[in-house]
Symmetry: none
Subunit: 214 residues, 4 copies
């Protein structure tokens, strides 16, 4: 059995189209980015969800955003235990090496990871409680958020938990000493957003954790 | 000190522009994506690097790719130890819940993470060896790749290690039982690519691990 | 008589408002821009006209565009005669020092400079022919454009001359050896636009010099 | 080789966003500006530097400022020699045709042009002394400023020269007969500012040439 397969032809065709147009027309810029290195202004932590397209929403140029995407746009707390923490590595690289000026946590509605977390915490998804569930263990990061929303009317809980995925990630970011230091020295600012996929609205967290439409 | 700050104004302006054009023109599609849920055909594992823009290269539509981005596009081996593994959670969600037909690992040239790994493994970056270095511990995933390239001429090692970041990730994917099973049942295929940022070329791994320009 | 006067109070007030909001919220970015230096992707040559606002049209971030503005967005031909050529200095700095990937010449409708040039060339503004007229001598750069439009119907001539202000500037850019070399090596690309102030349309020059709405 | 290239797609997208929002919401005003012509209250002479954003600092509306931008925000002395003087043309148009009430010269810290002038004058940049250096010849305007700061402690010289770029430009403005006449008739006032990019401070020249924070 071969380990890898050739790319589907429609993707190869699109790539060739990109190379003949967008790449060819911007060759100078790509070469310079390759030669000089990236210098992004902001890091974005968003979800893997295929419906979230941060470059499009913000009209981003190549080289503009350093983008980490994981399930439910979560940042765990600081834990320098020698284990592999991919998200913490991305935050460390962005803040310490690239010295970005902004970290934007971008949540979204209809998040499957958040819905799974809600099901798990409310007892409706025991399979996610198993030790072997990577999604379950990852969503443990959001458990404290469930505690904050469990007394809301049932139909409001998942939406509120989507906001908590952003707020808890921002709070966890501040547990990283180098993030806290950069924020305190006003070299870094943190931002929390939730993107409503259906309505196209961006909700922004204020400094009390309330969300307002931009 | 406020925890979050308002978004820079130029980003708010661009977002309003997006909402009035790309969103408004595709409202029906966004609403259907929100209502019906995503159904992406492929998962892409790529780097956080701001110069890698997979949606652009592949002309991707909203809803088409489930995208995980981390430092150096790495997938660790299967380790169901109850710890938080963000990348493994993303792979699990893509393969088991979304049942994507493809997982594409997309590496790139001039990767800061790979360069750091090379420096670490060759003794030039002792700070990355420290237990508290999240980037260093994350790049441990690529250590076996260094062993494979260390006897090459020095000037070829980093480029070869960028390819190893893709190949080792593909090999590690196959250590996940649910990935292996899906591949064996031909419900899933794996793909390995390296994107040359300066020249716009996509190099594709063949089933012997050699890379050829698409 | 004092040489300078205090700034009008309404401008001081607006500045204080900016400092307390846009500056304060982006302090990290401004400090980094100050410390690391600018690295703009593009140079823009546009008119001084108060109705042309390129940063707004293109949602530009601080640090994104190197902007030269003069009467009628003109670039003279290459003339290394030891005299003071402010526009040529700006082009030289952008291309040789900053190594921008794009030079965008942005013309506009209702351009007073172009209208003056048309009047001068058609004999209606003899005062602009005088040696002491700085505007007249500056608009001499556009005289070859008048030759190309003089046989058009009278009511089309000024609009055509606004396009010529862009095209001749692009042609003149190519007379600078360092511009031509960068273009030929695909390290730089040139772009020609005319902005319709009333209708908000951007017209783009194709490589035959015809303008099409974007 | 085509002379011009299509605009990068992200800029086209941002433009469409602008047209659908900022333009659409202000269509009446843009049409009136196009029909009636501009009537700016002030001319601003600032640097091309991508980090200087005068419209933002002063919350400017379309139609409010006539903006000339060149390397190091310099105005040469009056020289009606029949040659092309782009800056003098802009000043002439602003003062004589538009009859602005203010000319504001806006310098800034970390100015690459001023740093180059300092290097040239102190013997550290012989390449800028060459006849063919457009930047060098342009910065000759600031040579008298170097004479005024050369006896300061070395670490203070460049900052002082950034102030001189403003003061000498104001002095040169007064060599234009139509500027002097308008100033003497109190129809025009001149202003000198230096913008500190990192700290967001505006320093204003008083009538003795000392700078005080606004």
């Amino acid at each position: 059995m071969p380990l890898t397969r050739p790319l589907p032809k429609y993707l190869v065709q699109r790539y060739h189209g990109w190379k003949a147009t967008a790449y060819a027309e911007n060759r100078a810029w790509f070469r310079r980015l390759a030669h000089d290195g990236q210098r992004p202004r902001a890091m974005i932590v968003s979800c893997c969800d295929s419906r979230v397209h941060v470059s499009s929403i913000f009209g981003a140029d190549s080289g503009e955003f350093f983008i980490h995407r994981n399930i439910a746009n979560l940042v765990p707390g600081y834990a320098p235990d020698g284990e592999q923490h991919g998200t913490s590595a991305a935050v460390e690289y962005a803040v310490r090496t690239l010295r970005v000026a902004h970290v934007i946590v971008l949540g979204h509605t209809q998040c499957g990871g958040v819905a799974g977390c809600h099901a798990m915490c409310s007892g409706a998804a025991p399979e996610l409680e198993e030790k072997t569930s990577f999604v379950g263990r990852w969503m443990d990061i959001l458990r404290p958020g469930y505690e904050r929303v469990r007394d809301l009317p049932h139909e409001d809980q998942v939406g509120a938990l989507e906001q908590q995925a952003v707020l808890i990630s921002v709070e966890n970011l501040m547990t990283f000493p180098f993030v806290r230091e950069a924020v305190e020295q006003e070299e870094l600012s943190l931002h929390g957003l939730v993107h409503d996929i259906a309505e196209g609205v961006l909700w922004q967290a204020d400094d009390k954790g309330a969300f307002n439409a931009l």
